[in-house]
Symmetry: C2
Subunit: 443 residues, 2 copies
Amino acid sequence: MSAFDPAVFSTTSRFELDHLTIGGVSASDLAEQFGTPLFVVDEADFKSRAFSWKSALEESFGEKSGSVYYAAKSFLAKEIARWVDGVGIGIDVCTGGELAVAIAVNFPASRIEMHGNNKSEAEIRSAIEYGVRTIVVDSFFEIERVARIAKELVKVQKVLIRVTPGVEAHTHEFISTAHEDVKFGFSLASGAAWDAISAIHGESSLELIGLHSHIGSQIFKSEGFAAAAQKLITLLARYRDTYGKELPELDLGGGYGIAYLPGEVTLNPLMIMNELAQIVKDECAQSGLSLPTISIEPGRAIVGPSTTTLYTVGTTKDVELDGGTSRKYVSVDGGMSDNIRPALYGAEYLAIVANRLPLGPTANSRVVGKHCESGDIIIREIALSADVQPGDLLAVPATGAYGYSMASNYNHLPRPAVIAVIDGSARLIVRREQIADLLALEI
Amino acid sequence: MSAFDPAVFSTTSRFELDHLTIGGVSASDLAEQFGTPLFVVDEADFKSRAFSWKSALEESFGEKSGSVYYAAKSFLAKEIARWVDGVGIGIDVCTGGELAVAIAVNFPASRIEMHGNNKSEAEIRSAIEYGVRTIVVDSFFEIERVARIAKELVKVQKVLIRVTPGVEAHTHEFISTAHEDVKFGFSLASGAAWDAISAIHGESSLELIGLHSHIGSQIFKSEGFAAAAQKLITLLARYRDTYGKELPELDLGGGYGIAYLPGEVTLNPLMIMNELAQIVKDECAQSGLSLPTISIEPGRAIVGPSTTTLYTVGTTKDVELDGGTSRKYVSVDGGMSDNIRPALYGAEYLAIVANRLPLGPTANSRVVGKHCESGDIIIREIALSADVQPGDLLAVPATGAYGYSMASNYNHLPRPAVIAVIDGSARLIVRREQIADLLALEI
């Protein structure tokens, strides 16, 4: 009896008789060699997902397929940037720190896009100096800033306008509003997006190449993308009508959903890209526009399913609840410092016993961390084998996105190591933090 | 016109004609010298609050006053540990990392208490080796573990039992239940707390010195503490009746509330300690017990109000909302990476313009960070001067607790510097993270 579900784990994960293996390496061996908590990235899985998005975009849009930009915010490390480069896709960075990682591995500037609602002068300068392909401008102040810095550096910087089209997509539904109450972008409805076009045209050091929109996270249906594409294409047509030429690019952002729990699905790249292509082609045809080059920004959809967190159980406790039921608290050696998504968003995860075949009945369990905080919960409610005990390994799948990326040192817990597994071997890609690291910034 | 409210800022903060000063240093000078975002700790304020809790405990409980343990989880750095030591109070650590900071400044072991629901063997060993005064045991597995390690080290370790008394306090009300659905401690109602006493008595390397309870956070009234004290004293009486001797100590934990917004109050230490003393004395008298030594664990109540975060405004944006209203988005150079409490708990903060006297009318504003996430909000709704512009400094008070402590590198943002200000001078206590630090763990 094991709750192993291949749909939620990375593609090379297997439950073999009595233990979990990832990339051909047993979870127990990984824990012994690298310690826990441990982020285990399935290298083949990561690369194959990255490649799937690239080929889906190319198949659906043909010669009009632009870039797949990996959304670095979901998880970035030098080795990850090397993989992204190796697959031949681009990277979307939104701070100087993320850009610095890309620069550290000589990531081709021609495949870097820079985002952010509040880029600093230093970040903009660094991006233009390195020669990033596009900067997605997000405010009027920023248009002035990017223009001025590009001019100082004697460069012409390609820019996209981040447009808020009045579409918010939430998993299985989308909301269409006139106005979006968000910090990002230029509103279509208020005319700000149109004004941004004029502002950019007024700057000789900027070259406007197109529009960008991003409508949300964990999206599983194309309706939201369709609504946003429709609105953006209307703006492209107005541009053509006014300026007598067409803007060549459209970036539809990210937000493609993945499975966290058994029974959930991970969006099929080819399916959603085909749907998007149909929508964009229809809309362009209706407006008499040629098809723009289409780019996308998957992050979670590439790294999320690739990664499994391994924890060691430290203690368990059966707690009686009012009403005569009980709950088994299973405490692991990490917690909200390595995965804040359950506390922050109410995100749900699966866990399985990874080091042995658990026996006997299950118990109503809660997987918690070791922080001094009641809300330090990894899984609020799960049926785990009642015989889970200290020393057992728990594997939590689909932790690749916004896990390590949002990790903290709360309670002075060192951040876990991150390892890559492939073809039966494992290697460090981010080493485990040590007490000395925690003290390194102190006077 | 300034929204400066001395009740929310640290005690040496002043708005002088046209700018904020803290510890006699102007916010603009601090920003210029140390950069932003910046955590500014008012050293005199911190020490005076720490001392207030110490003297309130002593005044209220006389010779039966135990230790004030500063709750390190709220914010810990070497310099903070030195201040805590200097005031002569103790420290409550809950991981090996927090203990390591105390050890790094030779904090007296006799004033250290160790907490945690899932202490590792290494953490327990380190604590016993260093000679911490008490370990608050939290599970049956842990009793066995602490006993075994103490035996190996040929020591007798003083322990407190963390009891879950069935009392949850939430700000202005408390809930009394038979059972508590939390990962911490031994339940009183289920008999687990009583069984823990026997288990500890069976271990020759453990010395049970008393009971501990912690009932919540941001508590402003004594009723919850009273209910918990009452239940714990009933257990102390049962102990006396069974074993023919009295347990000498009672630790009532922390959770003392502070003001975040104008109109809120910060709990007065002497007032709440006097109330607690009356309750504990009455309950003990009724049970015929001598008064135990009383300890408490304020964290937020010491460091929270001492600290102000300074941000620089990077960009602003007026966004039209449905219904004809509008909102000014004010983007600062930090965000959820240096203060996750608004996103995590819906916590509310104040902000004021710190570098000048803002003029004219106010605008319905939202203070947001620079992360690529819509939820990256510091203040959801605030009337800020409509003339706030890029380059302005914003000061957000009462950020000392669970700000830096929970900070992350989300979006590869380096963590801010922390400085101490006192008597007109400022000095670094935690230096600003650099890009090189962000890459230090990478392979």
